[in-house]
Amino acid sequence: MTVPAGPGRPEPGDSPEERDPGLARERTSLSWTRTAISFAALGGVVLKDNVITGLIVLAVAPVIWQLGRVTRGRGPQADLPAVGATRLFIITVSIVAVSLLCLAIAIFGRAVPGALR
């Protein structure tokens, strides 16, 4: 919050810490990557049981990764929140849709008895 202001203060862009205070942008970008990987992991589990659904869930992973590209940009940060709501809304809708698919698989799908035995 308190960036030292003074005559000796370097211009933004001089160091990573100046360009991205607290490396917040970097950490958020990594967080987006982890979320995309989580989708891929779920897709892998579903794939074992229901190939088509698994492929759908797997296809969501690169979409999520792409959504995170906004945080990877180097543009001005001021215009972020306007697009933020839509991106996060897409994630929520995806998770709810995937949960419903998984519920359907769990209820109607053919269980593999003793797959972990």
């Binding site: 919050m1 205070p21 607290g22 917040a24 942008r25 950490r27 958020t28 967080s31 987006w32 982890r34 979320t35 989580s38 989708f39 992991a41 779920l42 589990v45 579903v46 074992k48 049981d49 945080t71 940060q77 001021a78 972020l80 929140p81 306007a82 933020g84 709501a85 839509t86 996060l88 809304f89 994630i91 929520t92 998770i95 709810v96 995937v98 949960s99 419903l100 998984c102 519920l103 698989i105 769990a106 209820i107 799908g109 269980a111 593999v112 008895p113 003793g114 797959a115 972990l116 035995r117």
Partner: protein, 132 residues
């Protein structure tokens, strides 16, 4: 406020039109977004766990629906947490814009209560199948 108006206030278009207050420090915006993403991963992990229990575990002897009793609530909890995470992101962003204290989160309560319930179910299912 009615439920439909509450839900309408969560739509991205409505959120984008919120110009009250001032734009918060980008670090706070990013931190709020990371919190949402972390809850999303928690939700996905719960769905994976639930699906894995139903589809991969061997059935409990004597309790034919035992796997469903444990797995289905986990999947449903994942969906609930995903929606709640988005709602809290909207409310936190709104509070950040206005410099208000952040609203208290109900998500830890939801998670703890449901996991406790599922643990009790799992214990009962195990006990019954062990006695058979």
């Amino acid at each position: 406020m009615s439920w439909s108006r509450r839900l309408a206030a969560l739509l991205p278009r409505t959120v984008a039109q919120d110009t009250g207050g001032t734009e918060p420090d980008p670090r706070f915006t990013f931190a709020n977004e990371r919190t949402f993403l972390a809850w999303s991963r928690t939700a996905l992990a719960l769905v994976v766990a639930g699906l894995g229990i139903v589809q991969l575990l061997p059935p409990f002897p004597g309790v034919p629906s035992g796997r469903h009793l444990i797995g289905l609530p986990l999947i449903a909890l994942g969906a609930v947490l995903a929606v709640a995470a988005y709602a809290e992101w909207v409310h936190n962003q709104r509070a950040l814009r206005r410099g208000e204290p952040l609203p208290r989160s109900v998500m830890p309560w939801i998670l703890a209560a449901t996991v406790t319930g599922i643990a009790v179910i799992a214990g009962v299912v195990l006990l019954i199948s062990a006695l058979k």
